[in-house]
Symmetry: C2
Subunit: 229 residues, 2 copies
DNA sequence: AAAATAGTGTCTTTCAGACAGTATACA
DNA sequence: TGTATACTGTCTGAAAGACACTATTTT
């Protein structure tokens, strides 16, 4: 076995250090479809390509804070809850230099999502069941390894959908809206009575007593999420 | 082509970069209890404390490869399958400088685990149900934020136990051994017939037709894992 | 009243927990 | 033959899928 002291004698200042970025998948529902905020790159590499918003981690900044700051700067929404997804560290993932990316996700309610200013360089892309993003109905190739990042993000979101779904509906939501979120994220339809029973039995939502307004037909009851703990 | 001024705004060479390490939780079962390899630190900070084996990520080295190399150097086992757990980036997690740690786990079979050379500075610590490691029956405080890393690692291992358990038993194993692994990792007992049914129905293991040898009583049938895909 | 969606009752299937039973090896 | 463990049969209950049914609101 190698001398354990090597770790301690190692002076990292003497060696090249990688850059570290956070790349953020900002996700929300639009017209019952999962959407993702993309920004168009202006400079090489991948100039003109669509990419996840990202930025370098400052030397005195925690990772979660860096993800929050990037989203505040790119999207103008502060105080977003972010969740770490995975660290991506392939050597050639950025052609310029070694950059390790820590991927994050943030989930937006519909009213927050529509409030995002979109322009030629900031767009919401629909994400289909296999994780391919499309803008104006056209599949787009993402810069760097961002397609990998999106695939992993979607897979983990699906695994955590029971809790995550509450962050993707309005504060007061109907069971229909909640089910639509589950179906859009999972990519397949769900059984209505079974879904309703499971959600109500789980004790993570409470009826408000109020109902939807301005519905063409019978309005549904509004519920609120009961946060964990 | 490249606008130097704009690029300069994004030139990470101009900014301080963090160091990046991989820290590895090497886990296995010993006497039906989950155990963890710890190394004792010789130098400050946390001199004398027990810690997860770790090391710096080289500038031209993928993250997974760094984790594999660290384990090869510290434990002498090459070709171990490693799985990323989480990136830890609190600013003060290392008092010397900013170091971002990418945590990994590796799972060992019992025969691999007992082959690990232990000495005064390399020990296998028992891990109890709440994630506290103990050496010689005495709970130990880990260096840095390694207690956090271990807690998160254990939580994710539990969530993935159905697949992970196969990496913690011998290549040919009995249902009793597989159940013991599940129980040790989850920290609670399981129902035997239900466990047996669930494992066999899932189609991820196959009977060999052989049975254990040298058992005091009725020997159990030996199974092998059927890898995914 | 018609339309359209909200919400329920209930049958069936699946699967986990419980527990007692049978099977098989060795001393 | 006794004993300890391997393995199974079967009852029960919880939860999901399927599907038809009732309920409620607006036009």
């Amino acid at each position: 076995m190698e001398d354990a002291a090597i770790l301690n004698d190692y002076d990292p200042q003497a060696y090249d250090r990688p850059s570290v970025t956070v790349d953020c998948a900002l996700l929300g529902l639009l017209a019952d479809r999962l959407h993702l905020l993309l920004v168009r790159r202006r400079d090489p590499p991948f100039a003109g390509c669509w990419a996840l918003p990202g930025g370098f981690v400052a030397i005195d900044e925690p990772l979660d804070a860096a993800a929050g700051r990037v989203l505040a700067q790119k999207v103008g929404l502060t105080g977003l809850a972010v969740e770490q997804v995975h660290a991506f560290g392939a050597v050639e993932r950025d052609p310029r230099m070694r950059i390790i990316a820590i991927a994050y996700r943030a989930l937006l309610r519909p009213d927050e999502l529509v409030a995002i200013p979109v322009d030629a360089d900031h767009r919401l892309a629909a994400v289909d069941a296999d994780g391919t993003p499309s803008i104006d109905g056209e599949a787009v190739d993402l810069a760097f390894d961002h397609a990998d990042i999106l695939r992993v993000t979607l897979a983990k979101l699906r695994a955590a959908i029971d809790e995550a779904a509450f962050a993707l509906v309005p504060e007061r939501f109907t069971l229909r809206e909640l089910q639509a979120v589950h179906e859009a994220v999972l990519g397949h339809a769900l059984n209505k009575p079974a879904f309703r029973r499971r959600m109500l039995d789980r004790g993570r939502m409470r009826a408000t007593g109020d109902v939807e307004e301005r519905r063409a037909f019978r309005p549904a009851e509004l519920y609120i999420h009961i946060p964990k703990g």
